[in-house]
């Protein structure tokens, strides 16, 4: 990792300590590999390379000297749009396939073919079923679950013309989507159609491809992701406010440490059930451990944090470093954002990576496949493996670098409304009065190109200072939590209006609303506010940001936010800069099409100024004080 100062990699003490330990232990990390890759391919960075057929691969010379068209004749605009379209399709596919796994679990519950899963929030099951038009009266929970699962499966095809939650979209926004032709039709349909369109010789108009990218992103945000969120709540409980802890200090030197990593609650909830089994606790004690400690990484960690208050060990860039503590027996993973390098890092210690999904195997990992019929038993096997690994842990190599920080979590829309007395009216009043000037969803990942958590946490600080309520999901949750921003005491860092509201309600100025599929909660909340005010989402004083994003999924989230009417600031540019048409569309043209656009700004203060300026305009247009 060279001679660079540790503070250049991360603002977090736990990360810095573990990067130093990785150097001593000879463990290669994500930052080493980034350095090896730099400078990245300039064509790819600009989106100007096309690998879609074997007349190529082709590159468009951005300096105008070499080829300006691929072998097929595609110019820079078409090549960039094709690549971006596929990027967004992959992100939507990831969220939505995760959503489908939850429907399959719901179906198994409805069919009565699983003893391992059940309905933890029957009231929500019935409410959602009614919302999407099912008759629930006189039916038992299983029957409703079955019908709801069938209904949601249909959202993935294209039978009904649109998706179940389309009615959550304010009328003005739906009319706009109809006019532009981007109403999502079916989750799989719109994703597959993008793969079709970007095959050679299909859609060769950059703007047309980008509009379809917007449509399929909406099928994710208001479809696949929203289904994932709502069905997760039905199966595992709707989150309510609670406190927990965050950072590598949640690992315990005298206990068996198991980390869950990935995205879906289906596996992690079963691991949680197993770690409390008295027989396993007895085995752990017999192995010399004081207990079994479960903590989360990334979004499956967020799922457990929101619903069960399970502590979070870290976000994306902490996943390798968690293993470097030498204190982790097992990392059990499902899918998405799990660096293949974890197997290698685990191999440098006594740790084991356990894969659980047939669609996400890692060479060198231990594969213990989970399904709806065997999940509890398989979870027991995972915990037993962890206890065995604890026996061979080398205590001399263990270093747990920091003390954990407290966080408040669990702010589902249901919980927020309950805290407000059952309706959004008090929130709307606070916004009208200017105490809360607006709301900003700050979401997304870590990216080793950016000093870890610097942009995420500082953008949050800058926003709350300006009386903007911040909602966080995904990896930003940990960025915020580690800095103490997820506790009510952080109200002291907020502007006077927001501070007053937070103190009155006993809530933090930064609300943790879930995992990355739970960005759908933010969409739903925006939809509710706009409908209550009789306006479009693009009229609301709201914005979004993904300061340290890295993934295809984040590109999809950004696009569904913009296509839903929410101005979105990205901390890093997507690979579209090689096309003037696509770049101009993203940063300005979309404003005239969907009433919102992207901005790219890596400086958190300048990003906050962009957001603030946007919210001023929106507030003024609504006749409010800026």
């Amino acid at each position: 990792m060279g001679k660079r100062d540790l503070s250049e990699y991360s603002i977090c003490k736990d990360a810095q300590a573990m990067i130093a330990k990785a150097r001593e232990d000879g463990v290669e990390t994500v930052w080493d590999r980034l350095r090896e890759q730099e400078p990245h391919c300039g064509f790819c960075e600009l989106g100007l390379s096309c690998r879609n057929c074997i007349m190529g691969p082709c590159r468009i010379d951005p300096f105008g000297n070499g080829p300006q068209r691929g072998v097929c004749g595609a110019d820079a605009d078409v090549v960039v749009a094709r690549n971006f379209g596929r990027m967004v399709a992959a992100g939507a596919a990831a969220h939505s396939d995760h959503g489908r796994d939850l429907i399959e679990t719901l179906l198994a519950v409805g069919e009565g073919t699983t003893a391992d899963y059940g309905i933890r929030d029957e009231a929500k099951l019935r409410r959602i079923a009614e919302e999407v038009g099912l008759a629930v009266a006189g039916k038992d929970a299983k029957a409703v679950a079955l019908e709801l699962a069938e209904q949601f499966f249909n959202d993935f095809g294209c039978r009904r013309g649109s998706i179940s939650f389309i009615d959550r979209v304010p009328a003005k926004r739906r009319a706009l989507w109809e006019k532009v032709g981007i109403t999502p039709r079916g989750i799989d349909r719109d994703v597959v159609e993008m793969l079709h369109r970007t095959h050679m010789g299909v859609d060769n108009d950059a703007v047309n491809i980008c509009l379809h990218a917007a449509r399929l992103s909406l099928a994710d945000g208001w479809g696949g992701s929203m289904i994932a969120t709502e069905v997760s709540d039905i199966l595992f409980g709707t989150p309510t406010p609670r406190t927990s802890k965050v950072n590598l200090g949640v690992l315990k030197a005298d206990q068996v440490n198991i980390l869950v990593h990935g995205h879906s609650p289906i596996v992690s909830e079963m691991i949680l059930a197993a770690v409390h089994a008295p027989a396993l606790l007895a085995k752990a004690k017999a192995a010399g451990a004081q207990g079994i400690n479960l903590a989360g990484l990334c979004c499956t960690g967020n799922e457990l944090l929101m619903r069960q208050g399970i502590p979070m060990a870290g976000n994306h860039l902490m996943t390798e470093l968690a293993l470097v503590t030498g204190a982790v027996e097992v990392v059990v993973v499902d899918y998405q954002c799990i660096m293949p390098s974890l197997v290698t890092v685990a191999g440098c210690y006594h740790s084991r990576i356990v894969t659980t999904s047939p669609k996400a195997k890692f060479t060198g990992a231990t594969h213990i496949e989970f399904d709806v019929h065997n999940a509890r038993q398989k979870a027991v096997e995972v915990v037993e493996l962890a206890i065995e690994r604890f026996k061979v842990r080398d205590a001399g190599r263990v270093e747990i670098p920091v003390e954990p920080v407290e966080v408040m979590t669990g702010f589902s829309n249901e919980a927020v409304l309950a805290a407000l007395g059952g309706t959004a009216a008090p929130l709307i009043e606070a916004i009208k009065a200017g105490k809360i000037r607006g709301a900003v969803g700050i979401v997304g990942c870590n990216n080793p190109k950016v000093k870890q958590d610097y942009q995420n946490s500082n953008l949050i600080r800058e926003c709350i200072k300006r009386d903007l309520l911040v909602l966080v999901t995904g990896c930003v949750t940990v960025s915020a939590g580690k800095q103490g921003l997820l506790m009510p005491a952080a109200a002291d860092l907020a502007g006077p209006g927001l501070s007053e509201v937070c103190k009155a309600l006993g809530i933090p100025p930064v609300l943790h609303v879930g995992s990355c599929v739970d960005n759908s909660r933010i969409l739903q909340l925006c939809g509710m506010l706009a409908t209550a005010l009789g306006v479009d989402i693009s009229d609301l004083p709201v914005a979004a940001a993904a300061p340290e994003w890295y993934s295809e999924k984040a590109a999809t989230i950004g696009l569904y936010a913009v296509a839903s009417g929410i101005f979105t600031v990205l901390g890093l540019a997507p690979p579209i800069l090689g096309s003037k048409v696509v770049t101009d569309l993203a940063v300005s043209g979309l404003e005239g099409v969907v009433g919102a656009s992207f901005a790219v700004e890596g400086d958190p203060v300048k990003a906050a100024e962009l957001i603030d300026a946007r919210i001023r305009v929106k507030r003024t247009a609504l006749g409010l004080t800026p």
Partner: protein
């Protein structure tokens, strides 16, 4: 101090053209890729990829010869050797675009474009300047920094050849390098 130069090993080149794109970026006004491609006068690469049999790529750049035929042919003294030691660098403010240098160059590494260094002239000679500004600042030439396969390295030529001799010696005695 040993004088380092860009050493080309064409057998390692995969034809990715990263050297070209990063060369152009390094010779842009802004030095950032995203901004460089939007400059009014686009920077040009000074390293070129020749295509041999079976599409075998050949990275080709100025050797900074001594004596340099291009320099001897240049009538307005635009190819200077007083900017950085050992490098033949085109001064675009002196170049009249006559093409004599390119005719004299046996390696075909000089091209003619409008250049931001002399925007009033329609076309001046554009060739490798050894990234002398980067090297003075402690960096290596942009083409070398971009090369992922070792086809371009920045090294002292005799040291490089000595290492090659050692590799050969090992090979002769059946030792894998």
């Amino acid at each position: 101090m040993l004088k380092k130069t860009v050493i080309v090993r064409p057998e390692l080149c995969v034809g990715c053209m990263q050297c070209m794109i990063r060369c152009a970026q390094a010779h842009s006004q802004s030095k950032s890729l995203a901004c460089a491609i939007r400059e009014e006068i686009l920077a040009k690469p000074r390293i070129h990829l020749g295509v041999g049999p079976e599409n075998k790529p050949f990275p080709n750049k100025c050797r900074h010869c001594e004596p340099a035929p291009c320099q001897e042919a240049c009538m307005p003294w635009a190819i200077r050797d007083d900017i950085a030691q050992g490098l033949k660098i085109v001064d675009p403010t002196r170049c009249i675009g006559c093409g004599m240098c390119a005719m004299a160059c046996p390696y075909y590494v000089i091209r003619f474009y409008q250049d931001a260094g002399a925007p009033e002239r329609p076309s001046v000679a554009v060739k490798c300047d050894g990234c002398h500004e980067r090297v003075a600042a402690g960096a290596i030439p942009a083409c070398v920094a971009a090369c992922k396969t070792g086809a371009l390295t920045f090294d002292e030529v005799n040291l490089y050849l000595k290492q090659g001799t050692n590799r050969l010696a090992n090979a002769v005695y059946g030792v894998k390098a």
